[in-house]
Symmetry: C2
Subunit: 578 residues, 2 copies
Amino acid sequence: MDKILRIDMGAAGGPKVSEKPMGEYEGLAGRAMTSAIVSREVPPLCHPLGEGNKLVIAPGLLSGSAAAISGRISVGCKSPLTGGIKESNSGGQPSQVLARLGYAAIVLEGKPVDDSLYKILINKDGVNIAADNSLKNLGNYDLVDRMKEEFGDKIACISIGPVGEMKMPVASIAFTDMELRPTRHAGRGGTGAVMGSKGVKVIVLDDTGMGKREPKDPDAFKKANKKFVQGLKKHAVTGEGLPAYGTNVLTNIVNEAGAYPTNNFSNGRFDGAVKISGETVAEIEKERGGNPTHGCHRGCVIQCSGIYMDKNGKYLTKQPEYETIWAHGGNCGIDDMDAIAQMDRMDDDFGMDTIEMGATIGVAMEAGLAEFGDTQAAINMVKEVGKGTPLGRILGSGAAVTGKVYGIERVPVVKGQAMPAYDPRAVQGIAVTYATTPMGADHTAGYAVTANLLKVGGDVDALKPEGQVELSRNLQIATAAIDATGYCLFIAFAILDQADTFQDMLDVISAFTGQPLTADDVTALGKQILTSERDFNTRAGFTAQDDRLPEFFLKEPLPPHNVTFQVSDEELDQVFNW
Amino acid sequence: MDKILRIDMGAAGGPKVSEKPMGEYEGLAGRAMTSAIVSREVPPLCHPLGEGNKLVIAPGLLSGSAAAISGRISVGCKSPLTGGIKESNSGGQPSQVLARLGYAAIVLEGKPVDDSLYKILINKDGVNIAADNSLKNLGNYDLVDRMKEEFGDKIACISIGPVGEMKMPVASIAFTDMELRPTRHAGRGGTGAVMGSKGVKVIVLDDTGMGKREPKDPDAFKKANKKFVQGLKKHAVTGEGLPAYGTNVLTNIVNEAGAYPTNNFSNGRFDGAVKISGETVAEIEKERGGNPTHGCHRGCVIQCSGIYMDKNGKYLTKQPEYETIWAHGGNCGIDDMDAIAQMDRMDDDFGMDTIEMGATIGVAMEAGLAEFGDTQAAINMVKEVGKGTPLGRILGSGAAVTGKVYGIERVPVVKGQAMPAYDPRAVQGIAVTYATTPMGADHTAGYAVTANLLKVGGDVDALKPEGQVELSRNLQIATAAIDATGYCLFIAFAILDQADTFQDMLDVISAFTGQPLTADDVTALGKQILTSERDFNTRAGFTAQDDRLPEFFLKEPLPPHNVTFQVSDEELDQVFNW
């Protein structure tokens, strides 16, 4: 992992490949890499779909090694959804494979001269790019099947569906899982539209003939890794809750806390929650011959995912995430789990962000396009996006545009990106993250649900403003650093609660790189990443006024606690004042 | 004109009227009034369609008096199109009538508790507000006919069409002309959507029983006014060009200059220009029994408007403005004048901004929804907006949203508002105005076409960056002040070129108010207005990065001169550094 692959899709005479040593980006990986390249090389006022934007795909620091649960991959660009910098990361196999192929980053640049659609094969022999317009309009599932036919089943794929080809701001980039299914997505911020604007349908990776990345100190690495895994296993969240029920373990917890955004953020409790909870889904999966405990990439030791079969016992989709089930479920008044799973499958296939889609359908229901709870209408809306009808184009532009187009006031977005499955009034720490992260409303950027609701890594009252800024700040710093390592963010539960597990993580990285890593180094890295991201956004025209929640969260009390968002603007402006 | 009328549309129990003396707003009128109220009273981060926004309608300082051509009225609010402050002004009769009724401003506040639609009657007896849901979905023409039936023909109306009721960002507010037709519009920035969000369909004004507003020094006033009118008459633009051909006198001039944006700003010359020029339109109007020389309000001495009949000699619409004919014409590759007039009529009837609509259709054509030059497709698109179909909702949200929804790069907007009929590459002074005015791309905010192309008020090479910032700055200052007086901006041609006519204008105002007005006072007023507007925008999150043109104007040379926009960012940032 010592070189950067750049492909100029706008070169005269067709795509032009260049491989160079890391240079100024030496030592960076994952989010540290994507945000550095975007911040330094992309003109902040460029059109997100134009020649100035770049799509950067970078494996984490430990990806491709034997380090447990280190298969996260980062995608960076200027976001077509927010207009700001974007890092969206994903699980799946490609991170490991790309790292073993030796690439610290793939950078797609330039603007195609015509509308040809390209597939890119990367293997031990190098890079091969070919136009293949027969791939046009294929869903991710059919596309991956085609790639299997063509390149065998030892591959991993990074691809877009028709929504990415249509360059809609909800478009995601799909990453294949262990079963070579396109179920893992860099979902947020429209990265798929940028890939579509570069004319790239799929990047096929084959690491046949390449070995694992070796640590500098193999013995210390092996020992620390083993202890680290033990630490994950012994923590209640990473050792029990997530393996048993996946992220959807949260449905009952968040709903019980009165923080479950229902019917487009108009209530904090959803009557149908139990029908779509993690416990219920695990039962369905077991009954139908699916699997409630399954990893998204080799080397995962938490196994928060699963396999969801339809009523006939046939594979339908991976176990949908909590945020997906919320978005297509309670947020739209829907408690039909099979319908939600069907929408998850369509989102993966069309290539779009489940959170943005569900939030957008909620806004459309608020606008009167359908009643809350109308499952068939919701399914139809997802189909419209896949087809690119005028209504589909509206919805495929996300919640903010849909709200503007229909003149709706209650639009739960920050920086143009829809909020995920935690009402900011009842989880005021996550609200601070929503408001201030350079990414637009994003729970993963500083997951204060930990101390607010789960009482992991501290205990900060979710309904009060006190302590939320510090909580969010520390989590945003730590998250930015973790997003650079390749580690799945879910290790945070254990490293926040268990000092020795945190030290084990440092030891793994130190042994891998051969350079001692301290807690202070992690903090410094996180701050450096956030600073580069905020700097980009400032140059793109973002101000403190963009670090605010929509006003209805400050005015409309949320049942059942009847709370409004209480953290002041002045406090919000202190998040990055470290 | 010594009181402010406020109507709280959100009051419990129905709309609540209050009348108060001017107080802190003493001495303000027109744009000075609207921008002061919006800047001081509207929370900059409020939702434009929510309870925090206010719709302010204010006659000019001289409106309702015997001062010639003083019938402009200003509408202010936070714009649903740009998210910034908006002042959009209009001709027509209402300014004179409202001023004679004694109101310096009407302020619509609050948010209706239900979806009733209201009509407001204001006459010498006061204010009467009544719900009237039978008015729902009426076009402005039918609506005004209904008001005539109900209140007689001595009225003037301020109203919205169905597009305003649907709260689309292209919605305008219509003001009736001398024939009681809804042909004059505060077009830009979605003011009609704000009126719709307040639940007000129409404000009917009847000044029966009220007299003209009298000057403090009647003799000096009469004398100065007479000289002022003579000055207008003797200038080539205000005395000849505008009366004979209206604003559309510009089609041949701008096209000849290579600055006529054609096919969505992809060329500076339009082959079909002669078919839609002012000269041609005047001929059509004369042939069919229309009228090429007609004023929009009593007291107008320029008479730049006209009456456009259809092929059967039946009234179709007022003489469409140059910018309208460009927007629906050359910008979409269309040279069918009857079709353009039909779209102008539909825009007026549905209540929407002709510039934004035409620019949006151009973007839609760029996106492949129709070919450039497809007249019927363009007409159908306008109809879609009137009906509020999904496609209509997209187009009714303006060019920026349409570009985002369809993933198009060439979108000619600043601050989310579409550019008018002068390509910024070939009229670099107007480009500076587009970029920097707090209003979003707006030619009227600082009409540098004067010195750039018409050689009025100076001579600054249109294709070069030198001198453009100073030109735009001075014009923006002067325009803001003129927009406060009630004077039609077209007096600018004469007062820029003729020092004595400028002095006559000062003398008219001095004699009217009884307080001596100097050129320095005018400059100070203009600066004060711009400062309050920019202050609002800053608090709403606007930065220098919002004072920029879309990047394609900096990169794609415009034929036939093959020029790009040359004024640097650093120079743009000096516009308000006075």
